[in-house]
């Protein structure tokens, strides 16, 4: 019976849509250049720093954000972990991955936080955005690669775009949740003293939503890190490429070594953003 119904040409429609988008080459080129230049800026800084100085900065930064609780194990782990990456000769790949993660997190933040605020302020926006966010997060990340290549070509940028789409939802959601969870009485207090909407947002809502917001940023960063191997399939360079090549060559040793470098990077980024949340909260 079902066979009698003609098949829905969904794939054709999407193809047609992507083809239609491709005609705006100028726009996509501009976006590509813009994202590419952010990424290059990160990369430029990382290339400029001597490796020992880079390690020192990371350790010092960790020490600073954790200054209220001396966490020596983390410091030692970071030191040894980064030296290991250096020793395995993955340093350049690691910085490429880091640039990709930082660029996509930055973009996810810049787009995600305002969206989260909009979602918290407007119930209609929440109703519209919620299913879109669910879609963005549950659609297999591979799928984003196909139109990304069509629109942004090969290289870092489509990888970043795919990462942004996949990694942004937590930031939006957590910003929304954080603002919505500000106690009513504090909103009333802000209103009763005659705050404008902007004053209420910047002096009451965002500061109180900070913990939840930072948790969202942390999640976004971890998600974009999880995209690096996938993004390497379309030419985004970095540790992901090493893993991807190792898979192609059935080279378990190098695959694990590169994977381990990703894990080390993930732990450092995770702990850093987490402790940022905590130290801010103490005020």
């Amino acid at each position: 019976m079902l066979t009698n119904i003609p098949q829905l040409p969904l794939a054709h429609w999407i193809d047609a849509f992507v083809d239609w988008l491709v005609q705006f080459t100028g726009f996509f080129n501009a976006v590509t250049n813009f994202i590419g230049s952010i990424n290059s800026a990160f990369q430029w800084v990382f290339d400029l720093l001597p490796i020992w100085l880079f390690i020192l900065i990371v350790v010092a930064l960790t020490f600073y954000v954790n200054r209220h609780e001396q966490n020596w194990t983390l410091l030692v782990f970071e030191l040894l972990g980064l030296i290991l990456i250096w020793n395995l000769d993955y340093w350049r790949d690691m910085t490429q991955t880091l640039s990709l993660v930082l660029t996509s997190s930055l973009i996810a933040l810049v787009i995600g936080i305002p969206l989260g605020i909009l979602m918290a302020k407007s119930n209609i926006a929440e109703i519209i955005l919620k299913p879109i966010l669910d879609f963005m997060q549950t659609m297999p990340a591979f799928v984003y690669l196909i139109p990304a290549v069509a629109l942004f070509g090969i290289g870092m940028v489509p990888g970043i775009v795919a990462s942004v789409i996949f990694a942004m939802p937590p930031t939006v959601r957590m910003t929304n949740m954080g603002i919505r969870e500000v106690p009513d009485e504090l909103i009333e207090a802000a209103d009763s003293f005659g705050s404008t909407e902007w004053q209420k947002l910047f002096k009451v809502e965002l500061p109180l939503a900070k913990t939840s917001l930072m948790a969202g940023v942390n999640q976004s960063m971890m998600l974009s890190l999880s995209m690096v191997v996938i993004a390497s399939m379309i030419g985004a360079m970095g540790l992901g490429t090493k893993v991807y090549f190792a898979v192609g060559r059935n080279d378990a040793g190098n695959g694990f070594a590169a994977g381990l470098a990703i894990v080390i990077l993930a732990i450092i980024l995770d702990r850093l953003t987490q402790s940022l949340t905590r130290s801010r909260k103490q005020g």
């Binding site: 009485e185 207090a189 009763s192 003293f193 004053q199 500061p207």
Partner: protein, 399 residues
Amino acid sequence: MAVKVEVKNLTKIFGRRVNKAKELIQEGKSKAEILKEAGATVGVDQANFKINDGEIFVIMGLSGSGKSTLIRMINRLIEPTDGEVLIDGENLMEMDKNHLREVRRKKMSMVFQNFGLLPNRTVLENADYGLEIQGVDKTTREEKAKTALEQVGITGYDDEYPAQLSGGMQQRVGLARALANDPQILLMDEAFSALDPLNRTDMQDQLLDLQEKMHKTIIFISHDLNEALKLGDRIMIMRDGEVVQTGKPEDILTHPANEYVENFIENVDRSKVLTAGNVMIRPVTINIDKAGPRLTIKRMRNNEVSTAYVIDNSRHLVGIVDANDVISLIRNNSSDLRSVVKSDVPTTQEDKPISELMDDISQTGIPIAVTNDKKQLLGIIVRGAVLGALAGNEVKDVD
């Protein structure tokens, strides 16, 4: 007295079919019927009252009586469905956003039940929040905030965070934040309800002390009748969104408008509300400038008393005389009534709460004389009248 805040027909209906609910109110349907027919809840039903400049006006009611909704309509934190709020004659309902914000900034401040302090700001930063959003420069606003903190008795905690302070201290910061703006009207929503009893009493006393200096118009929400009676110059009792009775504390105690108020005031500690003036009765008096011993004893016999209060021509209290002393005076053929007058009579003032007189009443055998500041005799307090008043009976005069 000038009217500061006037509320006319203020109504709030929560729900979707507001217009239908409005019609039903006009038809005089009850809250339950409106909920059933229109699916709307009547929060406040056509409240009407005036608040005078410089008075503490307590709005009293149990939870769900609409008192919190009502106070939030006075600064439009909740948008009324119908009615008017006039502040100094200006209709709040007709104001645009900017005008309303200006009124909230300059004219009224609110104190919240759970303090409503910003946890990410220090005590000082909380206290100057109202000034900060007005764009007052840092030095001025910190100075004002510090003065306000001093007024409420918090010094040396400027850089602490609210979470580090006890509940009582936090509410003092809340009060300081409201005072820092120097508003004319203070809206206090169950401001002391979250505090423990000792702290609550403390804060009540402090508010009364402050009010003596500041003379603000204070609208105070409470569900605690004892608190209402202690603080309120006038009290308004609400039930199910309707105003049940408005009046002075003694009026409400002595003349409850209906059974609901009667039940409400049943358990109140009257000794703290009723004053000497409320329970005093008119004594048998002898004017020493006119009467001699024989007239005295005659009056005492007629009134069936064994002691009488002696006054002079201008009603100044001279003392008391005992019937036995007067009789022996007559036997000795003396007419000098003054020689038997005992002048050590316990006295008190009219506005003394009974609770403070309990010791004297129980210790002395003779009734306490109530005098005004010119030492003129106004009345006396007898034990029976006190007990009767505490039990909720009206005090009946002897005459």
